[in-house]
């Protein structure tokens, strides 16, 4: 009896720890729905770049016309590190815009290999990161802002 209680307790505890600390922040899936988002064009260029001054990857996204964007799930793969960040504030309506930035230090994390921006939208009343609508970049230009 005591043994089974301990086993149940360990199981519940491990599930809780996984859910709290190790599970992805949002479920990834192929949504099959066309979101139609894109990297916004500013000054005739896609607005995604690396800002060496603030050590950030900066980008602007323009949402499509079909549904609201709930957040942006960003995956960064570099030579020495990998990370996934959910930009919960990157929320906008149809045809709206969001600005996002991700801390990235090539001195610590190595050269950028792959950057993936995945839209998070509501599918069947639950938020899902739609991997089939991911925008990917393998290299980034340095940011050049006119007021810098």
């Amino acid at each position: 009896m005591a043994l089974s209680l301990v086993v149940v307790f360990l199981f519940v505890a491990s599930v809780y720890v996984y859910a709290a600390y190790f599970s992805p922040p949002v479920e990834e899936q192929e949504c099959g729905a066309r979101i139609g988002w894109r990297i916004m064009t500013i000054d005739n260029k896609e607005d995604i770049c690396y800002d060496s001054k603030t050590k950030q990857i900066r980008f602007t996204i323009e949402n499509g016309l079909l549904q609201s964007l709930e957040s942006v799930y960003v995956k960064v793969q570099a030579e020495k590190a990998e990370k996934a960040i959910l930009l919960a504030d990157a929320k906008t309506g149809r045809a709206g815009a969001v600005v996002g930035d991700i801390p990235f230090d090539p001195d610590l994390e190595g050269k950028l290999l792959d950057l993936e921006l995945i839209p998070v939208v509501v599918i069947d009343e639950a938020e899902a990161a739609c991997t089939d609508e991911a925008l990917r970049k393998q290299q980034l230009e340095p940011c050049k802002f006119y007021f810098y």
Partner: protein
């Protein structure tokens, strides 16, 4: 030896399978079904693609400074003019700053050839200097609201209002 061939045809075999009235009903039902399918498809296409069938011709006026930033009220102040083709049912307004973007829907109707003076709340201290303002017109076609993304107008540098 004779073989009798049995006639299997019913007595009323020469009667028509459907009457004129029945065929009329069938044609009417078929036409209604086709119309419904075509209408639904067209409507879905209009909502999804949102390709605006008319040129909206929304533009900034050439005479004055069309967009500026009022540092006192922390608002972007703008003036736009509609073209001659169709009423604009509203605007999707995006102000893209260095740190944040502000996106709002303004549902003010702008009639044909009309001028609209609008304001957008924008705090440059938190959102950063303005990099781009994009205004996307919305129109109503067959009771569907379309966002005409291909006919959006943009402006880059925004100066403080004098």
């Amino acid at each position: 030896m004779t073989t009798k061939v049995k006639n299997h045809l019913p007595k009323n075999w020469k009667k028509k399978a459907i009457t004129a009235l029945m065929s009329l009903f069938l044609v009417a039902a078929f036409a209604a079904a086709v119309t419904s399918v075509v209408t639904n498809l067209a409507s879905a296409q209009a909502e999804e693609g949102s390709e605006c069938p008319l040129s909206v011709e929304l533009h900034f006026p050439k005479t004055a400074v069309p967009v500026c930033y009022d540092t006192t009220t922390k608002q972007v102040v703008f003036t736009i003019e509609n073209g001659i083709n169709i009423d604009v049912s509203g605007l999707v307004l995006n102000v893209v700053g260095l740190e944040q973007a502000v996106s709002i829907e303004d549902n003010t109707v702008i009639k044909k050839i009309a001028t609209y003076n609008g304001r957008i709340d924008y705090d440059s201290k938190t959102a950063g200097p303005i990099r781009l303002i994009k205004m996307t017109p919305k129109i109503i076609v067959n009771e569907n609201e379309l966002i005409c993304i291909a006919q959006a107008i943009t402006i880059g540098k925004v100066l403080p209002c004098v």
